[in-house]
């Protein structure tokens, strides 16, 4: 089992120009590893909809990798997105499920199927061509470069220790830079940043 930092530090070290979409218990931890203009926090939004939002960005930006740091509770809310990602041939989508078996933000109540649901099998069953599971930090660090380089859509499930994140907000009270403005401002900022990169 990994800590969140053991999941995020190697990813942040390898990250170049990818869009990274975070949600729920991964929002603040990722904000401690990255202040990249292509980071987007699906916070103050709709639980369960980070993966399909990230899929939409990936489909509109086929030349750019889009990484989604999803939770297991959120993934369970939108399993149909697995089928849609494959159907749409989103080769540039890397969908993480950071699995801690709990709804962390609300006090670590167990998710349905905790310790029982096989997310990697669900992704394979939906047709994901690149599926990876990790529960060892050294193995994860070693294999992450090949995982990120694989032709996707790619699915990565990482067994992670439950944390103790408080409910999310947006505004100056949040330390993470990408939580400093409203969801609408962040969304429009990301669209402008991607448009500027495309134009250049």
């Amino acid at each position: 089992m990994l800590t969140k930092d053991e999941v995020l530090a190697p990813l942040a070290a390898l990250r170049t120009d990818q869009v990274v979409v975070t949600t729920m218990g991964m929002v603040r931890p990722w904000g401690r590893h990255s202040t990249h203009p292509l980071d987007f926090a699906s916070a103050d939004s709709a639980m369960g909809h980070a993966a399909d939002l990230a899929l939409g960005i990936a489909l509109a930006q086929p030349a750019r990798t889009v990484v989604c740091l999803n939770g297991d509770g959120s993934m369970l809310m939108s399993l149909g997105t697995l089928a849609v990602a494959v159907e749409q041939r989103a080769r540039n989508l890397v969908l993480f499920v950071v699995r801690n078996d709990t709804y962390e933000i609300t006090g670590n109540q167990p998710v349905p199927g905790a310790r029982c649901v096989d997310f990697a099998l669900l992704a394979r069953g939906a047709g994901f061509p690149s599926v990876h599971g990790f529960d060892d930090a050294a193995d994860y660090r070693r294999r992450l470069p090949e995982v990120l380089a694989a032709a996707g859509p790619t699915f990565v499930v990482v067994r992670t220790e439950p944390g103790h994140e408080a409910p999310l907000s947006r505004g100056p009270q949040e330390a993470a830079a990408y939580l400093g403005d409203s969801l609408a401002e962040a969304a429009h900022r990301l669209r402008r940043a991607l448009a500027a990169l495309r134009a250049s």
Binding site: D44, A46, D52, L53, G56, A60, A184, A187, H188, R191
Partner: protein, 185 residues
């Protein structure tokens, strides 16, 4: 009845890049056209309607101009997906919503009833989703107009303009079928 090919041409004229949604009998002809190529408008079929609003929002963030096409039953399913993505992100988004049960509601009640209760929603001679469609959009503050026939297609233009002006979703309620073939066009 609206010719599906004319409808698609209207989407192309307005720069729509993607149609995101789920088919029903009223929209099936357009889905068939899109699946057959769509003249540059891509089809993004989703697994549930709430997913359509999130996926469309992501497409917009990535630089696209998506349009959502769902049935009114799916609108009711979409609640938090619509609220937490397109509305909360202030995304200009046109949603075409097929209006199941509209004809029967008009025939039986003459319009949208001013109030609803369990007895009305349980009446077997009405499709309850029709009774809830416009009140739901009103409750969410989503502007809406009807598309009753091909003569109403210019309302697409107004809907795109309104969604840009508001920075949010605007709905067009399709009360007739999109049809394919010579007879329809």
């Amino acid at each position: 009845m609206i010719c599906a090919a004319r409808f698609l041409e209207a989407l192309q004229r307005h720069g729509v890049t993607d149609v995101v949604g789920l088919p029903d009998n009223a929209s099936a002809a357009l889905f068939a056209l899109l699946a057959g190529g769509g003249g540059g408008v891509r089809l993004r079929t989703v697994s549930r309607e709430g997913e359509a609003f999130a996926l469309a929002s992501g497409l917009w963030l990535g630089g696209g101009r998506p349009l959502v096409l769902i049935q009114n039953t799916g609108l009711l399913e979409s609640g938090d997906g619509l609220r937490g993505t397109a509305m909360r992100m202030r995304i200009p988004l046109v949603c075409v919503i097929t209006y199941r049960g509209h004809a029967r509601m008009m025939r039986t009640l003459g319009g949208v009833p001013p109030a609803r209760d369990a007895a009305l929603l349980g009446r077997p001679d009405l499709d309850s989703v029709a009774l809830l469609t416009e009140p739901t959009l009103d409750a969410w503050g989503v502007p809406h107009e009807r598309l009753d026939g091909e003569g109403d297609l210019p309302r697409l233009h107004a809907a795109f303009a309104r969604s840009e002006e508001l920075g949010g979703p605007v709905a067009l309620l399709l009360t007739c079928d999109l049809r394919a073939g010579e007879a329809a066009c």
